[in-house]
């Protein structure tokens, strides 16, 4: 037999390595930013070697958050092609510089620092998760680089700093609509069970909004069950909740865990309505719960059927490439790039952006973003002085699956 002393050492080292290196999800810890980021000392041309204006895109392309990040990358790429075909920034093309944030805070910080200091971008779109934004956005704020969040919906994101804004409407505005839609479908709802991913800032923030809405509607909150975004087995939580016989279940999580939870709730016999949060707002949930996804209600900040030329062009480009309707995350990523493009165009008309030193351009661009109004696939949007998006149009969609569960769609409720 082997010596247990050495083996225990090996074992504990293994655990340590695995815990530190293999965290696919969000561990809920806050990565401190101890070293101030140096602003790029660039006083020359703001275009890169190819003559294009670089805009940073920091989305999760690896880890379990890549499910959402990949949808965002698609939206950004469609925007890049579309706006460059239309002449870019008054004749100068834009160039999107992609950096993978992975699924954690450290990955987002690294991506931001690379975009700011190495790629010398004029501004950044991202990161994918609110959890990451709370750690990475201060890096950009200190470097005085504008950041447009395309999917961060937690409270207090724009308040991170003067250079932080978002095109993704906060959960506090969007989320309550789905509970109202559920009550419209079933006025007899009285008891509500809530599930949320406790290791994800966004889910925590969203569940607070859901729970406050439940109370405000005079409903009884019978249980709050927690899980981790990396969990796959929810039977004990589902059993705990179902024994209390809820009429409505509300889930704040991400696509894989949320979809699995829905599946297990349905297989254990739950037949009532389910409301999903923004993390479930993706067609990537369809392969997880298949036919059992049917009927999930999700509030939306985007509808593929929104009228307007820009949305129909965007929708056509997406459906041609992916053979399905564009999801909200893709539309929001497109809108974020569009805001940069139109702000740069407006700035270029005042004073040629190629002639501005990079720090000055970043500063002027930030002011211009907040000053403008933009007609995007999301509808008309603008920003408050603090950087919060002002958006008029919100929707609620209900997932409709084919009988065999192979195909699904978000059917928008009237």
């Amino acid at each position: 037999m082997k010596k247990p002393g050495a083996l225990t050492t090996t074992f504990l080292a293994s655990v340590t390595i695995l815990l530190t290196a293999c965290g696919g999800g969000n561990n809920g810890t806050n990565v401190g930013n101890t070293s101030p980021t140096q602003t790029a000392n660039n006083t020359g041309s703001t275009t890169n070697s190819s003559g294009a204006i670089p805009i940073g895109i920091a989305f999760a392309q690896t880890s379990n958050v890549a499910l959402l990040g990949q949808e965002q990358v698609a939206g950004a790429k469609i925007a890049e092609k579309y706006f460059n075909n239309k002449g870019g920034i008054n004749g100068t093309p834009i160039k999107l510089v992609f950096q993978d944030t992975s699924g954690d805070e450290a990955g987002a910080i690294n991506a931001f620092q690379t975009l700011i200091n190495k790629d010398k971008v004029v501004g950044i779109v991202g990161p994918t998760l609110s959890q990451q934004a709370f750690s990475a956005d201060p890096v950009a704020e200190r470097a005085k680089v504008p950041v447009l969040a395309a999917s961060n919906t937690a409270n207090k994101i724009p308040e991170i700093g003067d250079y932080i804004a978002r095109v993704s409407a906060p959960s506090s505005i969007v989320a309550p609509n789905s509970i109202k839609a559920a009550l419209k479908q079933n006025p007899n709802i009285k008891k509500v069970a809530v599930f949320y991913a406790q290791n994800d800032s966004y889910s925590k923030s969203e569940t607070d909004i859901f729970q406050n809405t439940v109370k405000a509607q005079g409903l009884e909150l019978v249980t709050v069950q927690k899980f981790q975004t990396s969990d796959t087995d929810f039977q004990s939580q589902a059993t705990n909740a179902l024994n209390l016989k809820p009429d409505l279940i509300i889930i704040s999580g991400l696509a894989a865990d949320g979809g699995n939870l829905v599946r297990q709730l349905r297989e254990l016999g739950y037949k009532g309505l389910i409301v999903g949060g923004n993390g479930l707002n993706t067609s990537n949930i369809f392969p997880v719960c298949k036919a059992l996804c049917d009927g999930i209600l999700i509030a939306q900040a985007y509808s593929p059927e929104h009228p307007g030329e820009i949305n129909s062009t965007f929708r056509k480009a997406y459906t041609e490439q992916f053979k399905k309707e564009p999801p909200q995350f893709t539309a929001q990523a497109f809108a974020a790039v569009q805001v940069y493009v139109e702000a740069l165009q407006a700035l270029d008309k005042k004073s040629k952006v190629n002639n501005l030193a990079l720090p000055q351009l970043r500063n002027e661009l930030n002011k211009q973003i907040l000053a403008g109004k933009y007609n995007t696939p999301l509808g008309e949007i603008a920003f408050t002085p603090v950087g919060e998006v002002v958006q008029k149009d919100f929707y609620v969609a209900q997932i409709k699956m084919d009988k065999d569960g192979s195909q699904g769609k978000f059917a928008f409720l009237k």
Partner: protein, 316 residues
């Protein structure tokens, strides 16, 4: 807690615990032969699930480099499961040849082997994502024939629903444990493996092909990982390339609790962790991992050899 809820959570604990057990068996086999923890075990677990999915559906899915690529065959679930797990076993052999054998020949520190296995895990996980994307994949609803979604173990008034897939997983796990126990304790090959686990040098002097049995061990271990991965995926879908990581962590807790290198210990440890997790109160249900590892640390302090492990006695 009502009796109904207690019974339901007990059955939940047994079903998830049986998966932990079958997963930990692979860990413990490699450990007992080589004295190392193979951190790539979770990645092989994931890989096995993907293999079975591809063999059953005749497709690699719709994402990544292999998007829309098809196979000329579509196999029934049971056959795909055996074949997919066997492919996982072959990957295990390749991993042993590439990442473990060279270090073993050089007499490297076991920690280097652990790091090497972690490297293999990271490569496999990222390769999976590159080839088939980060999206989830779900086995067809009819993978287990026409089984109902759940079976009621209670009365119509006091239902105790248990998902059918969990019952299947538990039954398969029991069969696998029985077969493996018979193989290890009652066959010539199993006894040879035990001899190597006891003292590889002496076993080699007695004419046992140590290298060959290490390969066999890795095949069985990875086969079990692939099998466990498929069983779990049939219950909860293949939740992306990182699917096996959480199971890898729990598997470590299981083998320490049960006793490093002990097959019955792996089974007992898996069931104990599964049952403890099932009975974590609802308001703390997000802390199941922490509970599992708290048990692990207590066990390390109180009984380092685990529930069924053997105490090491050093002769002086």
């Amino acid at each position: 807690m009502t009796l109904t809820l207690f019974l339901q959570q007990f059955l939940n604990g047994l079903s998830i615990g049986s998966v932990y057990a079958i997963f930990a068996l692979g860990y413990t086999l490699v450990y007992s032969i080589l004295g190392i923890i193979n951190l790539a075990h979770g990645a092989i677990f994931t890989l096995g699930a993907y293999f079975t999915y591809a063999l059953m559906g005749g497709t690699f899915g719709f994402n990544g480099l292999l998007a829309n690529a098809t196979l000329p065959i579509k196999l029934p679930f049971a056959i795909a499961l055996i074949l997919g797990s066997s492919l996982a076993g072959l990957v295990g052999i390749a991993m042993e040849r590439i990442a473990f054998q060279p270090l073993r020949r050089k007499g490297s520190d076991p920690l280097l082997t652990v790091v090497s296995s972690l490297g293999v895990a990271v490569v496999i996980v990222n390769l999976i994502q590159y080839l088939v994307g980060a999206e989830s994949y779900t086995f067809p609803a009819d993978a287990y024939g026409n089984l109902p979604a759940s079976i009621n173990f209670g009365s119509p008034e006091n239902p105790i629903p248990i998902r059918s897939v969990q019952i299947v997983i538990f039954a398969v796990s029991v069969v696998i444990v029985a077969i493996l126990t018979y193989f290890i304790n009652s066959t010539k090959y199993g006894k040879a493996m035990q001899a190597i686990a006891e003292d590889a040098t002496t076993a080699s002097l007695l004419g046992i092909n140590t290298d060959g049995f290490i390969v066999l061990t890795f095949f069985i271990s990875s086969f079990l990982a692939g099998l466990a991965g498929t069983l779990v995926a049939s219950s909860v879908s293949i939740a992306g390339p990182y699917f096996g990581i959480a199971f890898g962590l729990r598997g470590l807790a299981v083998i320490v609790l049960g006793g490093l290198g002990s097959i019955p210990g792996a089974v007992l440890g898996g069931l104990v962790i599964g049952l403890v997790e099932a009975f974590v109160p609802g308001e703390y249900s997000g802390y199941k991992d922490a509970v599992a590892f708290a048990i692990l640390f207590v066990m390390l302090l109180v009984r380092p050899q685990g529930l069924l492990g053997r105490r090491f006695i050093q002769k002086v």
